[in-house]
Amino acid sequence: MRRWSPWLVSALALGYLFLYGPMLSLVVYSFNASRLVTVWGGFSTKWYGTLAQNEKLLNAALLSLEIAAASATGAMILGTLCAVALVRFGRFRGRFLFLAMTAAPLVMPEVITGLSLLLLFVSLQQLTGWPDGRSALTIAIAHITFATAYVSVVVQARLSQMDRSLEEAALDLGARPLKVFMTITLPLIAPSLIAGWLLAFTLSLDDLVIASFVSGPGSSTLPMVVFSSVRLGLSPEINALATILLVTVSVCVIFAGCLLAKRDPN
């Protein structure tokens, strides 16, 4: 029996055309000499030059990378703790509330998360003086909070599949729980920690809405700068930026894919 019918092959072709066509159009137009992005005016790479001199955009990109790295690390730690508590501790008091708090950010509209965090920061500042205005710090706190939920999901999946007999053996042989966790559990769940970190990093780097609510003067992230420029219309520099991002991500993903395929031939 033929399992891969011509119907399915054409569905695949159309599906990938739909997914990649618009992204390829960004790449093609980034080499357009004309400022009117979608009207072809000859081949040119000049927009990459102007992009390299756009300090506002570059500073925002740098800030975004810093915030993403910091919040991914924070979310990885908190998310792993959440996952360990939820998967390994059985029933404990407050577990339902705990579960609800780690799952709710996944279904929360970004505008509501952003608004509520901003109102929290404003009220906290009134009451305690901290945080002193909004800055990159408040953005990072916001990103840690919502990314923790995602990391927790990823790590939970791995933890619940993990073979427990190794941990049991180590405990039987008298190893302390912390030592068991560090030498056995952690190395075994490490791939999910890396996956969770990358997920949190991407979510932070990509976030416009929450950052817009909790950022302060001088802490505009890359999506915020891109958004304000896109609102005014098309800009060939944004196309050049998109191309660089697409190429970087594709190279990384393909590299990671090959690495995984090599390690795990199935």
Binding site: W7, L19, M23, V39, V107, M108, I144, T145, V226, I238
Partner: protein
């Protein structure tokens, strides 16, 4: 299996739970209490731009903002509109995503990983820039109108941007991977011998699909639908960049109320309303679905 013995008591266990618990209580739970409090306040000029709820020992709570939300059809319409747009987009996404997922699941095994990776890859790139790509494609001097003009189907460029069509398209495009992944997960696990049996017994492929493949993949269909519907309901960027005032969605209305009108209490009241009317039922639905999925494992 022996009951969990891992960190059954002691300081370590307490710390592992308390740290994320406290963080989430302060930065996730407490904000909602504050949002609710401020939704009962009134906006004013000043810093912060709302009246304190408690002054001189008396609580000045008012329901004005909620009455205003109910009284102005803008908000009710935006809420209904969001539900409608999200549901239609998720349904169309299902129609596009299903054949794609089936195609990957039935592909030769050594190709599946790569094909799946190609569906996920766009997710790792910028969401904002993928929406931006459609502005260029849909505008009146853009390539879609250009192609239609060149073929002669139309003699004037169509207004594609700032329409409800563009908003639907944007949602479908950005959330398609969320639809394909759960569908693929259920389709890939399906026992192909069932289809072979059906075919041996004389069922045509289409019939075999309707009686075997589709019913067995229903958990994936539900999961995919919700994964697209949930983020789409509160979407801000897509209706802002691709839509217009007729396609006002609740996320955009809240944003405008906060940033443009600077009415924090009203925005807070709107957030509470969305939480109660949309997020809470959806969260409950997800909870029930996940419980069921766990039970069938």
């Amino acid at each position: 299996m022996k009951p969990a013995r891992f960190l059954t008591s002691g300081f370590g266990r307490w710390l592992v739970t308390a740290l994320p618990f406290l963080w989430l209580a302060v930065f996730f739970l407490a904000p909602f209490v504050i949002v609710f409090g401020i939704s009962l306040s009134r906006s004013r000029f000043g810093v912060p731009p709302y009246e304190p709820l408690i002054s001189n020992g008396t609580i000045a709570a008012r329901l004005d903002n909620y009455a205003f939300l109910l009284g102005d059809s803008l908000y009710v319409n935006a809420l209904l509109n969001s539900l409608k747009i999200a549901a239609t987009s998720a349904a169309i996404c299902l129609l596009i995503g299903y054949p794609l997922a089936l195609g990957i699941a039935r592909a030769p095994e050594r190709w599946r990983g790569g094909l799946l990776l190609a569906v996920i890859l766009p997710f790792w790139t910028s969401f904002l820039l993928r929406v931006y790509a459609w502005i260029g494609l849909l505008k009146s001097e853009g390539p879609i109108n250009g192609a239609l003009l060149a073929v002669g189907v139309i003699d004037q460029p169509l207004q594609l941007l700032q329409t409800s069509f563009a908003v639907h398209l944007g949602i479908i495009y950005t959330y398609l991977p969320f639809m394909v992944l759960p569908l693929y997960a259920t389709l890939e696990r399906q026992d192909i011998s069932l289809l072979e049996a059906a075919s041996d017994l004389g069922a045509r492929p289409w019939r075999a699909f309707l009686t075997i493949t589709l019913p067995l993949s229903l958990p994936g269909v539900v999961a995919g639908f919700l994964l697209v519907f949930i983020p789409a309901v509160g979407e801000f960027v897509i209706p802002e960049l691709l839509g217009d005032s007729r396609t006002a969605m609740i996320g955009k209305v809240l944003w405008t109320e906060f940033f443009n009108n600077r009415d924090w209490p009203l925005a807070a009241a709107l957030a509470v309303a969305v939480l109660a009317l949309i997020v809470a039922p959806l969260a409950w639905l997800e909870h029930v679905r996940l419980k069921r999925v766990e039970a069938t494992r």
